[in-house]
């Protein structure tokens, strides 16, 4: 039959099923097809911490959301246009997120009394009016898959497992996705199991053909490729981009990369990835615990390697003392924190930004460290290179704050030319740098560079520069143990000043204020970049003016941040925490920023944020004072 083709500018699809249904793979393959096709895209995998929660239950539901468009987009989207639900639990767990009128494609096979009960349905929603406000397409995808692959002689259970590929085929047809990448992928992945390979490829094709022939779907959709800057692209997750950034930091500095790490969600993929790249001289050491991971990295840094440790919030808590040692010894060290919901074990597979203050202050004593945060999955690459630059140049531990959304989310990445990457010069010390009282040449490990305040990095094996460093306070210059009160005061201030000097090399804050008439600035950091950008666009579409800026450097801040903040009548700071950046800005600049805070373990919703921005813009424009009359009255009374 001839199908109608309808143009769309963007679509949000969510694949949802049981943890064992292969929804992450399905979403990932759809994403790759979409990337190859040339749409802009953004993804949000969402899965439980349990490897296999009891089948058919709500806690066992795993989902993958992909947003793709014919234009530049910033987020995986708030509300799916299409929900693919492989069982009752997946339907129930996700129905609340979709709007009336959305399409719901259901595998009716698992809608048995037993599974309905498990999901908490008293009645089968496919047989009642419960789904009347959605466009429901219910098919027995499992039976159709089993039928399609029966020639390969698999057990019914094994045959049924290919249902995710059937669903992928169907959705690929609906949105005109290229099929070759997935077929090639399946042929490669199951090369050693020909019957499984053939079953999956056949199920995928059968899904496509079903879409084309069934009368249930009369429309096929077309989303044109998005215009993108010329270049070579690939789709990339944050963890992969971060791992590549670390390898690039190693090659650009000429320092062999040494990763000391202990497995922890959602950071482990960086360990896995780096362990594949030994040909770059990368050593990956899976330590006995978080402390040993960072300890080994610091030991390697003393020996002249690029020492890296990767973890999540609970691991940072354990590493704190060693990071403090790195601050005292002034050695380069990269500490990657892929933040997750906390406190304690919290929400291991969900995202949050609540480690900012831990990164800033989570050590004993005055122990400042630079903090760098990527703003999107692909940006993790540049952020890792920048963190390397700071660590090596300033001889300091650097905290790189990613998060669970960035780690697993993906987007197209314009692959940089390696010639365009910055060179990082470790400038190892090779000569004595001081003349002693008796005229003898000496090496003083704490004699600083005047510009950067960095101390010399002399690695073992360098003759004549033998020296001892450690956690005890060091005397200025000579670096011997010193308990002198004035020296300690000087050294504490110097370590702080050294971190502040980094601001000399940070570009001014980019403020996006197209009309130049905005009274309100929305300032964010980290992975809220996408939702903030999308929300700001929505607000501007309504004719309101609003400015946006995003921080890559959380410590030190860009030098002009204070001036930027004071240019606006109101500043909103959206964060996935209870106001940690807000607290830093208030303390530092005495600016009464307005927080917008959610800690739901998910990215901020752009539409909700847009409403909050609109309210603030309207309040600010009408009164010039976002806090309203009461506050004005108070101010007057105070006078």
């Amino acid at each position: 039959m001839t199908k109608q083709v309808k143009q769309l500018d963007r679509v949000i699809i969510r694949f949802a099923g049981d943890s064992g249904d292969g929804m992450q793979l399905t979403g990932d393959r759809f994403t790759q097809e979409t990337a190859t096709f040339g749409n802009d895209l953004s993804t949000l995998p969402n899965f439980p911490a349990e490897i296999r929660a009891p089948a058919g239950t709500l806690p066992g539901v795993s989902s993958f959301q992909v947003h793709f468009a014919d234009h530049d987009i910033l987020t995986p989207g708030d509300s799916p246009d299409v929900l693919v639900a492989m069982n009752p639990a997946a339907l129930k767990a996700n129905l609340g997120d979709i709007k009336p009128g959305a399409s719901v494609i259901v595998d009716s096979h698992d809608f048995t009394t037993r599974n309905l009960n498990r999901a908490g349905y008293a009645e089968n929603p496919l047989e009642t009016d419960a789904l009347d406000e959605y466009a429901v397409h219910a098919f027995d995808l499992t039976d159709m898959t089993v039928e399609a692959v029966k020639e390969f002689g698999l057990s019914r259970k094994d045959a049924g497992r290919a249902k995710n590929m059937f669903a992928l085929g169907l959705l690929s047809w609906m949105y005109g996705r290229p099929t070759e990448p997935t077929i090639t992928f399946l042929e490669r992945r199951f090369a050693k199991a020909p019957d499984i390979r053939d079953a999956n490829v056949t199920a995928f094709k059968a899904g496509w053909n079903f879409g084309e022939t069934t009368e249930a779907f009369v429309v096929q959709y077309e989303i044109k490729p998005a215009p993108m800057e010329s270049g070579t692209y690939r789709n990339i997750t944050g963890n992969l981009a971060l791992a590549y950034g670390l390898v690039a930091g190693s090659t650009q500095s000429g320092l062999p990369l040494f990763l000391g790490s202990y497995p922890i969600t959602p950071a482990s993929d960086i360990l896995h990835e780096l362990s594949k790249h030994k040909r770059f001289g990368v050593t990956t050491f899976q330590a006995e615990d978080e402390i040993a991971g960072v300890g080994a990295a610091l030991g390697a840094a003393f020996g002249g390697a690029l020492g890296v440790t990767t973890t999540s919030g609970p691991g940072i808590a354990l590493k704190s003392e060693t990071i403090g040692l790195g601050v005292m010894m002034e050695l380069p060290l990269l500490v990657v924190d892929v933040q997750r919901g906390g406190p304690s074990t919290g929400l291991p597979t969900k995202t949050e930004q609540a480690d900012l203050l831990q990164a800033m202050f989570g050590r004993n004593g005055e122990a400042p460290i630079p903090i760098v945060a990527p703003r999107s999955p692909a940006d993790c690459f540049d952020a890792a290179v920048e963190a390397t630059r700071i660590a090596v140049t300033y001889r300091t531990p650097v905290m790189l704050l990613s998060d669970g959304y960035l780690a697993n989310g993906s987007e197209p990445w314009r692959i940089p030319e390696t010639d365009d990457l910055p060179m990082i010069d470790p400038q190892f010390a090779t000569e004595p740098n001081h003349t002693g009282a008796k005229g003898q040449e000496e090496f003083w490990p704490y004699l600083r560079d005047e510009d950067t305040l960095a101390r010399p990095w002399a690695v073992p094996g360098t003759p004549g520069l033998e020296h001892r460093i450690g956690g005890l306070e060091k005397g200025d210059g000579h670096g011997n143990i010193s308990y002198d009160p004035a020296n300690h005061d000087l050294m504490v201030r110097t370590r702080q000043a050294k971190v502040e000097r980094i601001a000399d090399t940070i570009p001014p804050l980019e403020v996006d204020d197209p009309s130049g008439e905005a009274d309100v600035l929305v300032l964010g950091w980290g992975s809220t970049y996408g939702p903030i950008g999308a929300a700001v666009r929505q607000v501007r579409k309504t004719g309101l003016h609003v400015a946006q800026a995003h921080l890559r450097h959380l410590n030190p801040f860009p030098k002009d941040l204070g001036d930027v903040l004071k240019r606006y009548d109101a500043v909103m700071v959206p964060e996935m925490n209870l106001g940690q950046l807000s607290m830093l800005l208030r303390a530092r600049y005495l600016v009464d920023v307005v927080g917008y805070n959610h800690v739901r373990g998910l990215p901020l919703r752009a539409a909700e944020l847009a409403d909050a921005i609109t309210d603030l813009v309207e309040a600010t424009t009408s009164t010039g004072d976002p806090l309203g009359d009461a506050d004005t009255a108070e101010k007057e009374a105070a006078r």
């Binding site: 790759q32 990337a35 190859t36 040339g38 993108m228 800057e229 010329s230 270049g231 070579t232 692209y233 690939r234 789709n235 390898v247 090659t251 062999p256 040494f258 000391g260 030994k278 040909r279 770059f280 001289g281 990368v282 050593t283 050491f285 330590a287 006995e288 615990d289 402390i291 040993a292 300890g295 080994a296 610091l298 030991g299 390697a300 840094a301 003393f302 020996g303 002249g304 390697a305 020492g307 003392e321 060693t322 040692l325 010894m329 692959i415 940089p416 030319e417 390696t418 073992p460 094996g461 003759p463 004549g464 033998e466 020296h467 001892r468 460093i469 450690g470 956690g471 005890l472 143990i481």
Partner: protein
């Protein structure tokens, strides 16, 4: 002695010094700040005296320590050094030794540092067999925090934190190390310079993790803990000397020895037959020490002949010395294998970044 003249696999990749060195070159300009009479002085003197004999480039030697009295050690040696944080020295040294095969890496630690707060790192270093030498100064007390009991203090130890006596069983560091299948495990005494030096020499020669427990007297908080094995009147009966290939025999005029109990398989001390004791155990039945035995069981049984309470009896010497692959050698081998034929890193990086499904926008 030089690296050339001695079979020192442990120092295989460490460059040799161009000229003979002396003790003074290894002595830093820092004033030593241990209490008068501390056993640490004797160990420092032995190490400063012994390092020049290794014939290594001084700049390729690194001492890493944790926290505690003994952990000040690196400050007094004019080599590279790191005085790190409590218990973590083996982890830090693991990173250093793995990334730099050309360094001779030493860890200086104490009974609290290595066995309490750092117990995890110690057993994992031993398990991995990273090429480094760990000097564990055991004074059976906490010195730097002023006299609390340690994980090697005898049960019932009365200290500031245990006025009615300690309640927890002590570790036997040698048993612990053998339990972790350490490939070189030895014990020596601070006051016996000759024995100390010979054990350090063998430890440095060993490729893999060498653990040397050094009985060390704390004259302030645990004075006399090792008197029985130091006193000329008692030490013959207190020290069980372990010498590879020799029967395990000790006591005045060799009156005592160690045999295996055929019923239980464990070891026990017996009186050896002699002119004054015709009913004693015939000398030919004594256990012959085999430090190179692959199975650590007998070495462990020997370690159990150490008194857990006040030290009236302890085997001294090298319990175990076997050759196993080391973690750091294997890690470097993997990198060499993976990097074989890799010449242009920049090009390889471009290849990596462009791997996977890519598309081009013109």
């Amino acid at each position: 002695m030089t690296t050339e003249s001695l079979p020192f696999p442990g120092l295989r990749d460490v460059p040799a010094a161009d000229a003979p060195q002396n003790r003074k070159e290894f002595t830093s300009d820092q004033e030593v700040r241990w209490c008068p009479g501390c056993g640490d002085y004797a160990v420092l003197a032995a190490v400063q005296g012994f390092l020049p004999d290794l014939g290594l480039k001084r700049e390729n030697i690194v001492f890493v320590s944790g926290i505690g009295c003994s952990s000040r050690f690196p400050y007094y040696l004019d080599t590279y050094g790191m005085h790190s944080i409590h218990g973590r020295a083996p982890a830090i040294a693991t990173g250093l030794a793995t990334s730099r095969s050309d360094l001779s890496v030493w860890v200086v630690t104490g009974d609290g540092d290595a066995l309490s707060i750092g117990g995890n790192h110690l057993i994992h270093a031993l398990r991995r067999n990273v090429n480094m030498t760990i000097l564990l100064f055991n004074n059976r007390i906490y010195g730097l925090t002023k006299g609390q009991y340690s994980p090697t203090s005898e049960l019932g130890k009365v200290t500031k934190s245990t006025p009615m006596g300690s309640l927890d069983n002590p570790f036997n560091p040698v048993s612990l190390a053998l339990g972790a299948e350490g490939t070189f495990v030895a014990r020596t005494i601070d006051s016996d310079r000759r024995h100390l030096t010979s054990v350090l020499s063998a430890a440095a020669a060993h490729r893999g993790t060498a653990l040397v427990e050094i009985y060390q007297n704390c004259p302030i908080f645990n004075d006399g803990a090792f008197d029985a094995i130091k006193d000329n009147d008692t030490k013959a009966d207190a020290i069980i000397p372990l010498v590879h290939g020799e029967p395990v025999r000790f006591g005045t005029e060799g009156s005592k020895g160690v045999v295996r109990d055929p019923a239980t398989g464990t070891l026990r001390v017996v009186d050896v037959a002699g002119p004054d004791n015709p009913d004693g155990e015939p000398a030919e039945n004594l256990l012959v020490h085999d430090a190179h035995a692959e199975d650590p069981t007998t070495a462990f049984a020997l370690s159990r002949l150490t008194d857990a309470g006040y030290l009236n009896q302890a085997p001294i010497g090298i319990f175990r010395q076997v050759d196993h692959p080391t973690y750091d050698d294997l890690a470097r081998e993997q990198i060499q294998t993976a990097a074989a034929g890799e010449t242009d890193t920049r090009q390889a990086l471009a290849g990596l970044l462009n791997s996977g499904d890519t598309w081009t926008v013109v």
